[in-house]
Amino acid sequence: MDLIHYLLLGFSVVLEPLNLFYCFTGVLIGTLVGVLPGLGPVAAMSLLLPATFHTTPVASIIMLAGIYYGAMYGGSTTSILVNIPGEAASVMTCLDGYQMARQGRAGPALGISAFGSFIAGTIGIIGMMLISPPLVNFALKFGPPEYFSLMVLGLMILTFLTSASMVRALMMAAFGLIVGTIGLDNISGLARFTYNIPELLDGVGLVPVVMGLFGISEVLLNIERKTKREVFTTKVKGLLPTLEDWARSGWAILRGTVIGFFLGILPGGGAVIASFVSYAIEKRVAKHPEDFGKGAIEGVAAPEAANNSAAQGAFIPLLTLGIPSNVVMALLLGALIIHGVTPGPLLLSQHPQLFWGVVASMYIGNAMLLALNLPLIGMWVQLLKVPYVILFPIIILFCLIGSYSINNSTTDVAIMLIFGVIGYLMKKLSLEAAPMVLAFVLGPMMETALRQALIKSRGSFSIFFTRPISATCLIIALALMVMPLLPWFRRRPGLALEQKETT
């Protein structure tokens, strides 16, 4: 009964005109950035973060969350019609979605992608509602050792799943930890690596780092590549999938939903990894795996369902433990803190209207997205025809203003450009940016937890292994580190994807 009571509270919050407006704005912008290659949800959320300062915390989080799951919907359109993923979580959709478009089946591909996303998103929200409250009680048992070990586990999962070379992914995580130490030391107040630059005393900002690594670097790559985008189909017909399509996609959607949801919950997981893993599993269980890559509708349905349910699941560790499981959640963490809300076990009891308001907004947002992505598909197709020569200066301008307006500081803009160059070089060398950013965000929290735990244990590391939750996390992390050394484990989904991309 409590659940229904709280859900009704959530709907009463989200149905306020202001919140409804922000929900619509969020999913609209999300679809837009999902459709446009080069400007993902992270960059868009960073850009609009300052714009939310003037509104309520609930409206602000509703809008930012809408951008995130809205981008998951929009990303598939570009993947299917142009063979370029609108954002990273739609990479797998390209493989079969574009082939379906080439065979004149762009409509069913877009249709199953939107319906699959809707089904997965809705199931994801229900899962979030059911899992979050009990998890909060569990999270109250967490002390510094548990928090530290959980964050180590999160980083290990991310490095394990995202890159072919775990050593290099861990190198990037270590680099992220280093960048995270810049600024005043949380405990002693000593300035670290600031070189008398006052703007660095608060540390390097997340928004300039993210915009540089994901926005500017992408623009630099596009300047270099001279790629010509070709929209495959101008008239999209028959958006409703046939009965046969549904028969082939039904289980794929359900499997994708479950895989995506649980990978979304895991710290270090997220929509990108979920779509990779669900595609790999779908191919493995398929009766005709040889059809994958040639226009199999399951190859569209499963990753699209997975990335949407993962987007919902990813909210759980942030809202219950206060730990962001990916870069997007790190941005939401920043937004919550700016609005004076501390995410964690007490959020549900102290700010129920925020938690349940956001949950309810997802139901409404998903319904809005279905309407935006199916009847209005023609509008998004037209948008794809905007030449990159026009898009790229606009993307750059968004990044410049976005990073400047956080603190009104040109130092932040310079930092963004520097990280743009670093991101570009990292992409050239196949070094992953995701572990770097997550480590950068978690670094200060990890450091505080580590130092507090060591002070508490009088310098003994046994504190991490004598407490059950902490020990379990570290053992799993250790197992993940050792696994790539085992020959049979080298065929993991992340590696498979990377090999596919390089060929």
Binding site: L177, L417, R451
Partner: protein, 153 residues
């Protein structure tokens, strides 16, 4: 020998060494009482060790699975990339002095021309319209504190 990956690992090791020294200067403390340099030192040490492992692994198998130097660096329009970056850094340096409107019009004039040359009147019109839209959206709509510069608004 794939020099790119060799240089890459050496650069990471150099950075790691630099951070470790920085960490020690800040003060490592003890495990019982960790000081400000504790985390930087450990992070630097971790980065250095991982880069060393990557280097040794690469030297042993000659980076067989990696792209060649030519594949990574050839056919890149370096001119465009370097000029774009230079212009962006100049824009950043002059942003407060010139202000949003003048600075952005000049930046867009360059960016709209850099990808493929178009007639100046097209570029100028596009720059003016885009700057105007951004000004209305951010300065008026979202109340962003964009620099006024020499125009005073």
């Amino acid at each position: 020998m794939k020099k790119t990956f060799l240089i890459n690992d050496i650069l990471w090791m150099t950075l790691a060494l630099f951070v470790c020294i920085g960490g020690l200067k800040l003060g490592f403390g003890t495990f019982h009482q960790p000081h400000a340099g504790f985390m930087p030192f450990l992070s630097g040490l971790l980065l250095g060790l991982l880069a060393l492992v990557d280097l040794i692994y690469g030297l042993l198998n000659q980076w067989k699975t990696e792209k060649s130097d030519k594949e990574i660096w050839s056919e890149i329009g370096w001119g465009k990339i370097i000029i774009t970056l230079a212009v962006l850094f100049i824009y950043t340096a002059l942003f407060s002095v010139l202000g949003f409107i003048i600075g952005t019009i000049l930046l867009l004039l360059f960016l709209f021309r850099v990808m493929e040359p178009r007639p100046w009147w097209v570029v100028l019109t596009a720059s003016l319209i885009t700057t105007g839209l951004f000004y209305v959206g951010f300065k008026i709509g979202l109340d962003s504190q964009l620099p006024r510069g020499i125009l005073g608004f």
